[in-house]
Amino acid sequence: MEKNSEIAIECKDLSKHYGKTVALDHLSIQINKGQIVGYLGPNGAGKTTTIRLLLGLVKPTSGSATIFGLDSQKDKVAIHENLAYVPGESNLWPDLTGAQALDLLANLRGHSDDSYRQELIERFKLDTSRKFRTYSKGNKQKVALIGALMTRSSLLILDEPTAGLDPLMEVEFRGCIHEARANGQTVFLSSHILSEVEALCDQVYILRDGKLIESGNLGEFKHLSSSEIVIQFKDSVPDISAIRGVALLSSGHGHLRFKFNGDFNELLKHISNFPVISFFSHEPSLEELFVSLYGK
């Protein structure tokens, strides 16, 4: 029952207060179909609250959210037909085996791709004959992940989905998300693992104290943090301290090491009269962006 639109998720001024605590403050975002979106923020930033609002589990204090054009509160049952969710802490019924839990999730969902389910079980190396209560944290997470991925839903909402997974399984998970992208599925990925977000996501939203403080693709974030530049000169070293955006880290013996977030043309023009042996520039990673944002 999807409405004809390119927008998968849209939040308008979405707020949630718990008494005097503001868990989410006027969030406005728009996510297109087929995008893989990273949702970042420190603990208590409001990531899980956003997800619970999108799922219709909690009511907004103000504002609204729509998924595929349908209201997340009024039309949640219809929305859930096209949505799969992996909670941050997988907590299914302890007396069910992994296979029984997957059967139940598939039946509650209404449909699932059985051959893909079997493929996922093998890829994630899950022993489905054991009781859920006997699984390790990582294996519990695998059940929830397989339960969501096997539905091939139009929208996957994943809250810290790789918590407890070992690095090999994280690679499998990334493979599954790439497949989801190829299938045209939309993925909303809340995560602390910045390398994962960096590797997977087209778009990143960063939340702090319930407020959206940054959004965009990784390229658009570059202005937020400086590149680290190391130049080895043949002879003397130019004085670059007057150039805007330079923060000198070290110099001497013909080399310069500095942080730079100014205009590269101006920098190159300034050093062009000094013979250069090597020039090394390191772009900021998402992790560095994240640290620079929260270090403020």
Partner: protein
Amino acid sequence: MTVTLVPKISFSPVKRTQVPFRRAIRTSVKSSLLWSVAFGIVILSSSISYKSFYPTAASRKMLQSVFSTNVATNSLFGPAYHLDQIAGFTVFKSFFTLIIIGALWAIFLSSKALRGEEENLTWEHVIAGTTTLASATLQVIIGLTEAVVSMWVAITFVVYLGSMQSHLGFSFLQCAFFALAITSTPLLFISFGALASQLFAERKTVNIALGWLLGISYALRLVGDSGIGLHWLDYLSPIGWVELLHPMIDPKPIFLLPIFLCSGLCLAASVAMASRRDLGQSAVGVRTPSRISPKYLRSSLAFSFKLISTNLFSWLISISVTGLILARVAESVGSTITGSSVKTVLERIGGQGNGSNLFLGLSFVILAMLFAFMLLGQVLAMRAEESSGHLDTLLSKPISRLRWFGGRIMVLIASEFLVGLVSILLIWIVLATEHLGQGFTGVLLSIVNIMPPGILVAGCAIFAFGWFPTKTSLAGYGILAWSMMVEIIAGLGKSSQFLVDTSIFHQVSPYPAASINWKSAVIMTGIGVVGTLLGAYRFNKRDIGPT
């Protein structure tokens, strides 16, 4: 060079290594004292009611003659000794009930404090420190034993002081030995619980194993007391050892020997096993996953039924067996009521007919309490689904809140119907074989008559679930505890009519001894239904979450 000194933090080594002990004390002593007071009130209530219901020597002799040779009551509640004395009657009326409750308390407490703590990973933090698994086990055992000792002391003083106040004539030693006999069952089952926690990997399995042990132990002494020459079976049963203590009238402290010996051995074995195994491991290992029929996994409604099926089965057995026992002894007990002051009291509240009818009327009120507990248990299971986070999983699927809620209410109604129907059939069959003149319609009306208190309690708990979810348990148990307390207070003597009317069980007429109070039944049912509807309305609107 500047040297920054890290402030030296000193921990008390005693406090650090006593965490399991302190935790065990914290979780057990409060409940042990609460139960002690409740046990004391039950004992005193039995003694005081004996004085008022059997005031004459003749009525007491009749009581003695009826029960001393009654095989049915001797098997179920233990042999009746000296029912012509207050002490004898007090033991006969309260002893078995209290030791069974004490055993159940000990089972849940020990499995929670030992295997439960391992299962929920709390002990990982403890064992990661300087405490070993054996030391933690020993500390918990000492903590739980201390709770039993507190219970012993508290019951002794409550009964002794109550006895002095009401001029019952119990000596301090009598009270102390009676309390010791009652608390020896918790001691035994705490030691069994400690051992079972080493044997089995899941708390649920520990509880089931201990439940079986309690059942077998009770059954052995039941056969032993059935007068068919198998009295020696009492010596094989832990409950039999407790029974053989004969508190109050003819004490036999020699039987404390097997009790202490068995407890000591089990506790020592528990510590020894804990010292040889890894955390989280067990001697028997995890049970093979049970086969769940795929039909239970097809929908949220079917799965809801599966979730409560074990619990429902337990209630079905409990209520049916209680109904059967009460129906079975109705004739013999009824004969002692006829002509006694009990009959006069019952007639005052509308009870009519012969003693059997009066006893049946009271018995059905006891079943009303069990039904109320059963229905409340199902509402609490709804709340547990939410607090465990399982409801998040269900409601993130295409299932509406009201569909889930309605499904659980349907399961609740179906459970009540099923348990009611089985009880009706069983009680009807027993009454027919006893020729007590209760037709099928009579039994049907009796069961219908006892449903409203349960509906009211469930409705109020559902209302709380909708509006104040964290108070669901408080609302349900609060009404039940209040009503039961009022009934006990009312049983002690004169009390305010207003106070008595606040008990939901007082609103149930003792049918078939009195005509059904349809007005009360309709009001209680109405409150339950309105509570359910209001709860559903709010549940559909409020935030859901594992809070």
